[in-house]
Subunit: 442 residues, 2 copies
């Protein structure tokens, strides 16, 4: 069976540059696998495709079937790693207009912003429909999902009564402690566990990602198969033989050359949320201590008509990584017109995917000529199996890349600053001192 | 009446830095208004909110009413400037789930990618519904919309017959020449004109943007009122009195300090496509000759859980511009819970917008402390009037900013490279020589 392929032949990197990174990469591999590096409390994801709780996995499948049976609407309440992974999978692998034409429940995401307008509009759309909710939060106290869950909990209890409501609320949370765990036990919600040693941005293969993905009708066995295969493939410590480590090493080399922005490009709009998920993975893992590549994303060819000029001819601080799907899901043939006014008749009989691939090749060459190092991650096709493989590829590469950069890829200390400020300004008890300081600055 | 407000008091800019830019800004103003600078063939947008063709404007409103009456689905075929403006308006100003609950026609965008999967899925969703189409292309030969239009034209003619189909196809194109203009005349489509002196990314107030916006039920008179007011406000040549020019000048100062990435942040998910539109405006206008700020966008607070760590603590190459809506459209109150497990009871009686605003203030202070210069563009509320004002603010600032940077803000020569390559690889007649060269490189 084919696997994901990584090509850096057009990144302008010399052989000896890669060779210099062989030993550092081997060391990063060792530190990661022997759990001797920074953030080693959060390495549960490395072996997760094998070590995961198979009993809980079966429960996910069973519960997803129940939800599909009794719900017209399924609401996923979570933010960051608690929704980006499942959203990426659902958008990449289901119908482009899933909520408009799926047989299964419509799926909405809430609790990932603080917009009253969004929440009120969402309440309008689901009015009168049968609903289930998956609230996803390790602690249960993260502001955005906690607010949304208060709203939906009270809505559900009013709509169904407390007894029936609790059968439609599913909590994915800490195994033992925390506000949501306590509430779930008190109310009698079905719960799923977020492992202690898997951070939010690495949690897609846990129930965090898998329950919503299964409700969307996707095959989570195949996703785990792909992840497991990737785990095996990327165990190889030799940089020359490990494509995943090559992605990490090449990023590091480009960064040292001053390429401080990585633009992840796709040619299928359905991959948009894979890029959003990827931004969190790399931005949060590496953007610290004044370091890190700035992750940006474009949807081609759409964004060639917005960012194309910059990529071709703006500042040369960037490199481009293309997510290329070898074999498109559906395709369409271009037909002849009697009169060739638009000048497209030379494409008669060709398919849209043929045109899309030629666009990709032409753009790649143009950007290389424009001084943009080009990387390609080729995925044989976008199905559950390769989705799982791709996700693991990025996760493992991120761990290695973070160690090569010299950061702790598994923490996110920077996000505490704004949270503290926000709590203080909101008047949360315990933040009175900071509040006083901040009020003077506003 | 209140207007848009620009605040750069937390950008770390000294008074004399601004003073140094007074004369260059006055000069840029002069060059722009006297049309003596680079790209002066494309300055029609400057006076457009006053000089626009009022007769055609009335036709837009009339046609929009007809489309609303006889169509369940309205498809906008266009790429780049031919769809980003209308999409930005529709998402910012209508219901968050417009296509799921609007009384008017569902609105879909096509021809902005080359994905056969997307197009096939779209055909499935609209099956059996009454359709109108707006194809938007100056030339009619741009690959993406031309392919999509071939597909939909033949679909419509099969569905309705040639005679009826032509009454459901609206072409927004060149006034006199080009493939689409010729076809429209031959087939008898209703047409709308794209002015010769308004480039794609500046075309939102022309029929390019306004027809789809009117079909969505929005008040285009108010949009033009806002644009007109902005045109008056930002005629002032004195930098000290012109907030729009201050945005241009401050960007220029920050760029010279090494702040090469601008992150446009919003706190309302409905503003997402305003940022996409803004990326094209600034990326395409300034990203040339090896220069230009790299435009990036984040949706807060969502993306604080992905990009927040980087913004707080990554490389300090960036500054942040916040689109702040003073008064949110809808709001929701946070209610007390008997048992305060999630610890949110201190917010009882507060609204989500209150929390959202405190988040904004807390984040702003945290990022400033983290070394991120902060700009705020405050919009009194997000309605048609202020939307028009905001768009014009950004357009005028872009023209001035481009002249301050020393580029031609109104061309996009860089996008020719990839187009040529693509045509050659697709086998387009006339590109045989280039094709031979490129094939050797693949």
């Amino acid at each position: 069976m084919e696997n994901i392929y990584f090509d850096y032949s057009n990144a302008g990197i010399k052989k000896y540059e890669i060779q210099y990174l062989k030993e550092p990469t081997r060391k990063a591999h060792e530190v990661l696998h022997e759990k001797t590096g920074a953030g080693n409390d959060f390495l549960g994801w490395v072996d997760y495709p094998v070590t995961y709780d198979h009993k809980e996995f079966e429960k996910i499948k069973r519960v997803a079937q129940e939800i599909k049976k009794d719900s017209e609407v399924f609401i996923v309440i979570g933010i960051g790693g608690s929704y980006l992974g499942s959203r990426a999978a659902i958008e990449a692998l289901t119908h482009s207009f899933y909520n408009l034409c799926s047989d299964g429940p419509q799926i909405y995401f809430a609790g990932n912003n603080i917009s009253g307008t969004y929440l009120k509009h969402l309440m309008e759309v689901i009015e009168g429909k049968d609903i289930s909710i998956n609230v996803i939060s390790k602690s249960g106290t993260t502001t955005e999902p906690a607010i949304a869950f208060r709203v939906f909990k009270s809505y559900m209890e009013e709509k169904y009564g407390k007894e029936k409501a609790k059968e439609r609320i599913y909590a994915t949370t800490d195994q033992e402690k925390g506000a949501l765990k306590t509430l779930a036990e008190k109310e009698g919600y079905e719960t799923f566990a977020i492992p202690d040693d898997v951070g939010g941005r690495f949690s897609i293969f846990t129930p965090v990602g898998l329950l919503p993905i299964a409700v969307a009708g996707l095959d989570i066995d195949k996703i785990m198969d792909g992840a497991k295969e990737a785990k095996e493939l990327y165990m190889e410590e030799d940089l020359d033989k490990n494509l995943c480590y090559q992605y990490a090493a090449v990023r590091n080399i480009l960064y040292r050359k001053g390429k401080i922005i990585e633009v992840l490009a796709n040619y299928e709009p359905a991959l948009h949320y894979i890029a959003e998920w990827w931004k969190q993975l790399y931005g949060e893992s590496e953007g610290k201590d004044g370091k890190g590549i700035f992750p940006a994303a474009v949807d081609f060819s759409s964004d060639l008509h917005s960012m194309g000029q910059y990529l071709q001819d703006g500042r040369r601080d960037l490199f481009e990584t293309v997510l290329n799907i070898d074999c498109s899901k559906l395709d369409m043939e271009i037909k002849e017109e009697a009169e060739d006014l638009d000048g497209l008749n030379y494409l008669t009989g060709k398919t849209m995917d043929f045109v899309n691939k030629k666009a990709f090749e032409g753009i790649r060459l143009a950007h290389i000529d424009g001084g943009v190092p080009n990387l390609i991650i080729s995925i044989p096709k976008m199905d559950e199996y390769y989705f799982g493989q791709l996700i693991y590829f990025f996760q493992k590469a991120c761990g290695i890349s973070g160690y090569l950069l010299g950061v702790n890829p598994f923490d996110q200390p920077g996000v505490e600053s704004y949270k503290k400020n926000m709590f203080a300004l909101l008047g949360k008890p315990g933040y009175e001192g900071l509040r006083e300081t901040l009020m003077k600055r506003i």
